[in-house]
Symmetry: C2
Subunit: 251 residues, 2 copies
């Protein structure tokens, strides 16, 4: 049995809590959040202040990146394994009076969508090998995909995550906006968006590339540029087309 | 019962054939492809030459955009409803001795992945109302999402499809390449890619946007730019970040 105290009850915290609760080998002793109502929820005590935190096998900090350093200093216990859940913050942000770790679930969490945690890669780091084993045990009880990464590797992975998640969502947003302006329903693109993502589950993106840029179909590229209304749209269309063509040595 | 002759047996042609065969209200009389082996396949005759084509309710041309005009001229019958399957080519590319139509399935088709055609939007156009009804009947027998669009609307929709499919796949490719260069496995991003696509099935992309650009988190943005190795990567990162910030009035 791994005992856990969870600090933070935002999107990541709530999804983590749900997943941890469902694991038979985990007991969540406390959830600490200034906003969640105090009281018991099953075996878990909800508390509002860091001063109430008790020792556990792992104290998980699912808080904003900027708060990790400061809040970890305020935890009133010592020699406790504390792991933050950030993709970008170094393990060293955690205050030195405690044992440092990272427990980064690589997924996008929103209040609306429920997540199957068994498919979520969990990226671990710990300052000492024993603590790494504790984090591994905890991570394996939630997910089938657990890896150990350095802070540097995690930062790079997080940046790649920004490309595939934030940036492709922005492309969807650009398409939504464009179709709105031309009274066409965005819903027509939904199956295509899903299939695009499903394709790269069993095929590398480099092999999955199709379209006018890849075919070097200049007349379609020019027709598309003529259909675009805003300079920024044209700029993004041109740059991504150029980049595809460079990747396939068409330029 | 709608009788169909299918010209072209590439990715789109093969997926269409499979879906048409499964429909009880459709009979595929012939498939014409220079490369497919001649002979009977169930109720369907496979032929190699356009000269052998017989009349049907709908003749579907699932051929390359560039070939639509020329091949439609070579079809040796008249007053036949002929519909091409292209997202970009005007209905008028079809030769005038026959009745013109468009039957555009908005999806990405690859040899490997099987497609549930009932979820694929089919965009129709016809030069006369009777033919539109014939196409609607055929499309409804395959898909739950059938719409009628002008050639202009279809072109705009196809361009939006390039954004969400080709361009986001290129972002996946950039991430693949970046992770390769740093000895990190692309597979870690797969669940995130899928969830990004699933999120916009029930939420508008404009509402689903997250990340450092949206949060106006300059220190993460600068850290990411410092992690990028190639000028093109930096240029794309900057442009998309700038565009996100403009969309949310952060700039």
């Amino acid at each position: 049995m791994t005992t856990v105290v969870l600090i933070g009850y935002g999107n990541v915290g709530q999804h983590l809590f749900k997943a941890l609760q469902q694991s038979e080998s985990v007991k969540v002793l406390q959830v600490c959040s200034p906003s969640a109502p105090k009281g018991k929820k099953g075996a878990t005590e909800f508390i509002n202040s860091l001063t109430e935190i008790i020792p556990s096998d792992v104290c998980l900090m699912a808080v904003n990146d900027d708060l990790i350093k400061e809040l970890s200093q305020q935890i009133p216990i010592e020699n406790q394994l504390i792991a933050h859940t950030s993709g970008t913050v170094s393990i060293d942000a955690i205050d030195g009076k405690n044992r440092k770790g990272v427990f980064y679930p690589l997924q996008t969490f929103s209040a609306e969508a429920s997540i199957d945690f068994s498919t979520v890669p969990i990226c671990l780091e710990a300052a000492n090998p024993n603590d790494l084993e504790v984090l591994k045990k905890l991570a394996n009880s939630l997910s089938d995909k657990v890896v150990t990464l350095t802070s540097e590797e995690r930062k790079r992975l997080h940046m790649a995550a920004v490309w595939v998640n934030n940036f492709s969502n922005h492309l969807f947003h650009m398409a939504e906006e464009y179709l709105n302006e031309h009274q066409l329903p965005f819903s027509l693109l939904k199956p295509l968006i899903l299939e695009t993502a499903e394709k790269v589950q069993h095929m590398m993106p480099s092999e999955a590339q199709t379209g006018p840029a890849k075919r070097n179909d200049q007349s379609t590229i020019e027709a598309h540029l003529a259909l675009l209304d805003h300079p920024k749209q044209k700029e993004i269309y041109k740059l991504l087309t150029e980049s595809i063509q460079e990747h396939f040595n068409l330029k």
